[in-house]
């Protein structure tokens, strides 16, 4: 695949690993958080951790939209889907995310709720057109990458004068969450991890550009390197972070220049700002209430807002007390620190959200990292 295969070259990766090893100072730790679930998955899938020096640790961040969706929002969607007039359209990753008491959209569908997996928001529009006698609700979820497709969908619904279509909006923003990890008083009390730099998200940044990270890098004195998702992209981004740390710099650098610019995708940003506005706060699994981190539809588009249209009440649900997803999402704990990991919680029977999505830290470790635990046990 052009623009993918050439960034997976093993020989170049081995050379890059040597360069990283040569440039890291042995007397200090390097702790880098990859915010995005796509990066977490790539690190595990390509075994990058095995190529890095022992004093360089990658910390998995909360950038997996499925993982950070609180259980209460799943419960709200299930209640909605149980209404006979409603067809709920969802991205496939959401089907098995646990709500309260083991509930999930998949189980609700098995009980008869009309829940349909879609690949794209265009499919949801098509379903609304084909079912004029039913109410079609799209379960919108994701970071800045999936928000423009939702905005385009609402514009299309208006153009087609669809009166049976609405959106349950759960879109969230990257920069406030990164800030929250570093400064939230809640995080200080429930534990946090020291971070020396951030690998910035790839596809989120194609939309928002590199500019939004500049304030963050300056304010918190942390380097940020925007990185592509291929293994060589990530190795280069890690080397760029090592160099910034060594030179005591904290700048925003763009490794993914083939797809990301400083200003991002202006057209996509316009689509989003036309239709959405900030919520005062939004709940994230693992981070709690994060101010100005979520989006809702502007009042002018209230007829497309499922929460308004169907009088949905906010539901708050505590996570399974034994589940460590919250601490894992903040990078405070690793998957193996959770007593549910690999026992009752596996990708086939996920108890927590980090095991549901392939981009979750637990699912990535389950699929690609467990041999390392075995090796460590044998060595100790």
């Amino acid at each position: 695949m052009k623009y993918a295969d050439e960034y997976r070259d093993k020989e170049i990766a081995l050379g890059l690993a040597k360069t990283i090893r040569a440039e890291t100072h042995l007397e200090r730790p390097y702790r880098f958080m990859e915010f995005c679930g796509g990066h977490t998955h790539a690190i595990s899938r390509y075994g990058l951790e095995d190529m890095l020096p022992n004093n360089l640790r990658m910390i998995h961040g909360p950038g997996c939209p499925v993982c950070v969706l609180p259980a209460g929002r799943i419960d709200m969607a299930i209640r909605l889907a149980e209404r006979s007039e409603i067809i709920l359209c969802v991205y496939g990753d959401l089907m098995r995310v646990p709500g309260s008491q083991g509930a999930s959209l998949l189980k609700a569908k098995a009980r008869g709720a009309d829940i349909r997996m879609v690949y794209s928001t265009i499919d949801a529009i098509r379903i609304a057109e084909e079912n004029p006698e039913r109410e079609v609700v799209f379960f919108a979820i994701g970071f800045e990458t999936t928000t423009p497709p939702t905005a385009v969908m609402i514009r299309l619904a208006e153009k087609k004068r669809l009166s049976n279509f609405s959106v349950f909006c759960n879109h969230v923003l990257t920069p406030p969450a990164m800030q929250n990890i570093l400064e939230s008083p809640d995080i200080r009390s429930i534990g946090r991890v020291e971070i020396d730099g951030f690998v910035g998200p790839a596809h989120v940044s194609t939309i928002i550009g590199t500019a939004p990270y500049e304030f963050f890098a300056e304010e918190f004195g942390k380097p940020v390197v925007i990185s592509g998702f291929e293994p060589l992209d990530m190795m280069q981004a890690i080397l760029m972070l090592v160099r910034q740390v060594n030179e005591n710099r904290h700048e925003v650098e763009n490794q993914y220049s083939r797809a990301v610019t400083r200003d991002g995708n202006l057209r996509a940003k316009e689509e989003v700002s036309d239709i959405f506005e900030l919520r005062d706060q939004f709940e994230w699994r693992g981070l709690g209430q994060v101010p100005y981190s979520g989006l809702k539809l502007k009042r002018a588009y209230a007829k497309y807002d499922a929460e308004v249209r169907f009088g949905m009440n906010e539901l708050r649900v505590d996570d399974n007390p034994a589940c460590e997803c919250g601490a894992i999402l903040r990078g405070v704990k690793k998957p193996v620190d959770c007593k549910l990991f690999g026992t009752v919680c596996t990708p086939e029977t996920p108890m927590g959200s980090c095991m549901v999505s392939s981009e979750g830290a637990c699912a990535a470790h389950w699929t690609y990292g467990r041999f390392r635990d075995h090796q460590q046990r044998r060595a100790s």
Partner: protein, 78 residues
């Protein structure tokens, strides 16, 4: 959810749609978020939408830099 892949635009359609080829597999996607798109351009696609065009010159420069950085470590013992 975050998975997005590079694809080549093979045909522009009406209503801000296009056909792209992913390693020979054709797929219809929305190009509502992209301006000035032409057949032969490569785009990053995600949940059925093109998010951005890939800049071939930047892609080439990145690969060149990767090769250089890779060689820098060659003289170092593993």
């Amino acid at each position: 959810m975050c998975l997005a892949i590079p694809a080549e635009v093979t045909k522009l359609l009406s209503d801000e749609m296009a056909i792209v080829s992913i390693d020979g597999v054709s797929k219809e996607i929305s190009v509502a978020l992209i301006e000035n798109l032409a057949v032969g351009d490569y785009v990053i696609i995600h949940v059925g939408y093109a998010l951005t065009k890939i800049d071939p010159e930047e892609a080439r420069r990145t690969l060149e830099l990767l090769r250089e950085l890779s060689v820098e470590g060659q003289g170092v013992a593993p």
